[in-house]
């Protein structure tokens, strides 16, 4: 009876020690490792997202620095060519130089842009001015081909234009 009672503290201490070891080894340490792995992944994701945000902020700052140029460029090369608007714009352009549009034809080309064919009649200077207007329009357009027929004071110009879109 005496020996048993004197061993009780030892047994209690050993039990506490074993329980502590078991809890640490089987629960706390694995949990800590798992949490640390998740933390590393989360930090990596955070870094990636933070980099994206930094890039976006820099992009926004760059666009802000460019100011109205960005909008001008976006208008110059529109996402799509709206046919009615485009024809109306051309008509206004030709009317400005006293010419008119007998024919207009729109079609998509292989470059992803829009081909526009039209003819106009007027004086030589008017036709030259018209071509200059086309080339200097806010929309980016190139005159691909030209056909001129002259009849005394009047000349008829047929132009094939490529209008760029993004």
């Amino acid at each position: 009876m005496k020996k048993n009672s004197s061993n009780t503290p030892v047994i209690i201490a050993v039990v506490i020690m074993l329980i502590s070891f078991a809890v640490s080894y089987f629960m706390l340490i694995p949990n800590y490792r798992t949490t640390n792995e998740k933390l590393a992944l989360a930090q990596q994701d955070l870094s990636t997202v933070q980099n994206q945000l930094d890039a976006l902020q820099k992009t926004k700052a760059d666009l802000d620095d460019l100011g109205p140029t960005v909008d001008q460029v976006l208008v110059a090369v529109p996402a799509d060519v709206d046919a009615p608007d485009f024809i109306t714009e051309l008509e206004a352009m030709t009317a400005k130089y006293g010419t008119y549009l007998p024919t207009v034809q729109l079609s998509a080309n292989a470059n992803g842009n829009v081909d526009l064919a039209f003819s106009a009649t007027g004086s030589f200077s008017d036709m030259t001015s018209l071509m200059k207007s086309v080339e200097s329009d806010i929309r980016v357009m190139n005159i691909e081909s030209m056909s001129v027929s002259s009849n005394k004071d009047k000349m008829t110009v047929s132009l094939q234009i490529e209008a760029y879109k993004r």
Binding site: V49, Q50, T59, V70, V73, I143, V148, R166
Partner: protein, 316 residues
């Protein structure tokens, strides 16, 4: 009789006192005591006499008494006086004491055992405390990691919300559109042939006695020229003029040929010679006056506002 037996037999006697206890011992001792000792007991007239006898066991422990008896040799000499005070090799020997206290087995020897066992116990408890401390440590750093993970996740969610917000989604779309537009403008600049500049220049290359009937320039640079003049010689001179035509100090036409010509004489005797010339235009000589603007600042200079500055931002 070994020590254990001594203890077992001594246990019940501890609770007894006085003569009753002694009287109980007397018959059980048997030959352990000398006859003279039995006689002394029988001669005792009072309890005091009995207690005052030096050879009589006064201890309240039967074990001590028995040990005392055992340690006495036949001659009555007390061996325990020398052996019990200096026990050798941890051997257990019971020795009586006059004061009737505990014997040496319980007081002296267990002291060393307790000392060593106390140290061992302390080590065990220290180990247990270290284990508990370790568990608490892992619990705390685990909790810290969990809270840090939650914090990082919160930050990530916050930043993700900002990235996916309408502000930055618009920025992304705008930047992508801007980049595509700039690329298209660069392509347009490379492809552009300044037709508005070409037309007046080609007119300068037409001789005065030649009337232009039609002129066509295809996208690949093939030029067809038709006109009328008044003689074959004039038609030939026009051919020579076009062959020699230079733009920006470079020959503009290559492979110029007189495709057809004829002579018509009217009723009034007027001679007309219609002819046609074809050739390949070198478009590159016309590239210098190219203007591509955004429309608002169209000038005759070489300002090309293709928005190339926008590409300076690497993120675009």
């Amino acid at each position: 009789m070994d020590q254990n037996n001594l203890e077992s037999t001594a246990e019940p006697a501890r609770e007894k006192t006085g003569l009753d206890r002694f009287a109980h011992l007397t018959p059980s001792i048997g030959g352990g005591f000398s006859d003279s000792r039995d006689q002394d007991i029988s001669k005792a007239s009072t309890i005091d006499d009995l207690i005052q006898k030096p050879v009589e066991p006064t201890t309240d422990q039967n074990a001590s008494t028995l040990a005392f008896a055992k340690n006495r040799d036949d001659s009555g000499k007390d061996k325990s006086k020398t052996e019990s005070k200096f026990p050798a090799g941890g051997s257990k020997s019971a020795s009586p004491s006059k004061e009737g206290g505990k014997n040496d087995d319980e007081e002296f020897m267990p002291f060393e055992d307790k000392k060593s066992s106390n140290i061992g116990l302390a080590f065990v408890w220290i180990a247990a405390l270290v284990a508990v401390g370790g568990a608490i440590f892992f619990y705390l750093i685990g909790n810290s990691a969990v809270s840090k993970l939650a914090e990082v996740n919160d930050q990530k969610n916050s930043v993700s919300a900002q990235v996916s917000s309408s502000t930055y989604s618009d920025v992304t779309a705008k930047a992508a559109g801007f980049k595509a537009a700039v690329e298209k403008m660069s392509q347009a600049k490379a492809d552009r042939f300044p037709m508005s500049d070409f037309l007046p220049q080609i007119y300068t290359a037409i001789d005065k006695n030649v009337t232009l009937t039609s002129l066509s320039l295809s996208a690949d640079g093939k030029l067809s020229f038709s006109g009328t003049t008044n003689s074959y010689k004039s038609a030939a001179e026009q051919l020579a003029t076009l062959k020699a035509w230079q733009v920006n100090s470079q020959t503009a036409f290559g492979g110029v040929t007189l495709d057809s010509y004829s002579q018509n004489i009217s009723d009034k005797g007027a001679v007309t010679v219609p002819f046609s010339i074809s050739g390949q235009l070198n478009k590159t000589v016309f590239t210098s006056p190219v203007n591509i603007t955004t429309g608002t600042t169209a000038t005759s200079g070489q300002t090309v506002t293709t928005g190339n500055t926008a590409t300076s931002g690497g993120s675009l």
